[in-house]
């Protein structure tokens, strides 16, 4: 019963596992085996028990963090390679199109891409199509820039234009005239006085757009209103549930896709591999893969139990 044995997962490849982790996992495994026994007797599991198992499965890796080695899949690696291959000083726009609900999934990729772009000495422009995105953007900048990039100057190496209302209407304008929608940055300084916007008039002057989000307006709108019209490469970092909707655009209209925590963890691992200086920085994507892995294994186990109970129940009904 491999799917019922998350312990195997840690014994073989997990790192940082502690006694607490093993005890917690042993409880889960024993509990799952007991449920398997009840399923064979065709007894359905109460949904509160499912909730309890998910709670324990998510809690253990949070209390006793475990991380796994990640390998970037081609859809994620294309984004990394693009930022890596652009010449220094290229202009990259990062759009924070998400709210706090999506932040646990999307924020780690935004952090990683921001670090990568700045480490490569690209000029980075930040913006948001979501009102709630500006707060998250401000906080990201305050958290990362002064501590990790103290030599980068606001207005020279990067700038934030913040949020403006209008959803895809904003994109429809900035694709041909950026300053019409954003005459000044988030600190009310006119864009014309900021060196980062020298010889920059519209999205056509961008070398890459990376949008983080999962709602509307978001990745799809960036592709339709900016990527296609201005012929700018667009990469997307989206919540896992939205990732399948982005595949029709990949690889011609969307350069690469980071989907959910897994996408973030893959990007973080690639970043650390090439830039070891970030190994000391938090890697929330890789850390959250622990709870996600365990929760997925528990869900798989419950799907198995559901089918076992279903088949044994049917067999019992068929018996004369």
């Amino acid at each position: 019963m491999m799917f019922d044995s998350p312990m195997l997962l840690l014994l073989t490849a997990g790192s940082g596992a502690t006694v607490g982790t093993y005890i917690g996992l042993a409880i889960i495994v024993l509990g799952l085996l007991a449920l398997l026994y009840t399923s064979i007797k065709a007894i359905e599991v109460d949904r509160r028990i499912v909730f309890l198992f998910i709670f324990v499965a998510v809690s253990i890796p949070i209390l006793f963090p475990i991380t796994f080695e990640e390998k970037a899949t081609p859809v994620v690696k294309r984004i990394f390679d693009k930022i890596e291959s652009l010449p220094e000083g290229s202009r990259i726009l990062l759009s924070f199109d998400f709210d706090p609900a999506m932040a646990p999934e999307v924020q780690p990729m935004a952090d990683a891409v921001m670090r990568h772009a700045l480490a490569k000495n690209h000029r980075v422009i930040f913006m948001s199509l979501w009102a709630t995105g500006q707060g998250l953007l401000d906080r990201t900048m305050q958290r990362i820039l002064p501590n990790e990039f103290p030599d980068k100057v606001d207005g020279v190496d990067f700038a934030s234009v913040g949020y403006t209302a209008g959803n895809e209407g904003v994109l429809n304008v900035i694709v041909s005239d950026f300053k019409k929608m954003f005459p000044s940055d988030a600190n009310s300084i006119p864009l014309d006085s900021l060196p980062v916007f020298n010889r920059f008039s519209s999205c056509k002057d961008l070398d890459l757009v990376v949008t983080f989000g999962g709602g509307k307006p978001g990745a799809k709108e960036w592709v339709l209103f900016v990527g296609d019209k201005a012929n700018v490469p667009v990469a997307v970092g989206v919540a896992a549930v939205v990732a399948p909707q982005m595949y029709p655009y990949f690889p011609n209209q969307v350069l690469g896709i980071m989907g959910g925590i897994k996408g973030a963890a893959e990007y973080e691992s690639e970043l650390i591999k090439h830039y070891p200086q970030f190994a000391e920085q938090p890697t929330p994507g890789m850390v959250m893969m622990g709870p996600q892995t365990l929760a997925h294994i528990v869900i798989i186990a419950f799907i198995v139990f559901g089918n076992v109970a279903y088949f044994f129940g049917r067999r019992r009904e068929e018996k004369p």
Partner: protein, 225 residues
């Protein structure tokens, strides 16, 4: 007249925007109209705020069921509006970013809104687990295919999936679980998504034409009667 004017405006703007896509001479018109749209979008905030006040004040004054929650909504709305408009507590003054962490708005945003929204979203994990347990049953061939695809995707999104098939030789890399998950996303999922997108696209074209030509009038209110 009350109905003809909005219908005429819709017809004029709709037709012009379609033409602006195809004709270089009117290319800038689309952009100009987008600016108008953004101005209107800002006014929608006033409309939304006014509507919120009206609905909840009515509920409170008539003491309808759960009216206490309306009080919480209104207090939250008014406090955030006051804190954001006047940038209460902003170290950088009125020109600084509204979400500055030292400000009242920033404090409520970071300490209340973010944890609340994240909590609500994370509750999904519990419901997804319960729903998966009940829904993924191999009752017939189609359900079994769905079940197998769900297994591969679930495993493919974890390090466990990578580990399970990492022993495979490079010649069989396509059979590795993460690659199988990508194949499912990139082939069967892609085909389904494209079909849905094309369907939606045709629906949007059809509905837009109905609105532009004045056949569809429900947006005028009272079912367009």
């Amino acid at each position: 007249m009350k109905r003809q004017v909005p219908l005429l405006i819709t017809f004029f703007v709709g037709t012009l925007l379609i033409v602006s896509i195809f004709s270089p001479a009117t290319e800038n018109l689309g952009e100009e109209f987008s600016v108008f749209f953004d101005v209107i979008a800002v006014f929608a905030f006033f409309l939304g705020g006014g509507n919120l006040l009206r609905v909840h004040l009515t509920k409170i004054s008539r003491k309808r069921e759960d009216w206490v929650y309306s009080v919480v909504t209104l207090v939250g709305f008014i406090v955030m509006l006051w804190a954001g408009l006047f940038k209460i507590g902003n170290e950088g003054g009125i020109a600084a970013s509204v979400t500055e962490e030292s400000s009242l708005f920033g404090m409520v945003f970071y300490s209340v809104l973010i944890p609340l929204q994240s909590t609500m979203y994370s509750l999904l994990a519990f419901f997804i687990a319960s729903a998966s347990y009940r829904a993924f049953r191999a009752k017939n061939r189609e359900a079994t295919i769905l079940l197998v695809a769900a297994f591969i995707i679930l495993l493919g999104r974890t390090a466990f999936g990578t580990m399970l098939t990492s022993w495979m030789p490079p010649s069989l890399s396509l059979a590795e679980i993460p690659n199988l998950a990508i194949w499912i996303m990139n082939s069967p999922n892609l085909a389904g998504q494209r079909a849905i997108m094309i369907g939606i696209g045709l629906g949007v074209v059809s509905m837009s034409l109905r609105i532009i030509l004045g056949v569809e009038r429900t947006y005028l209110g009272d079912d367009g009667k």
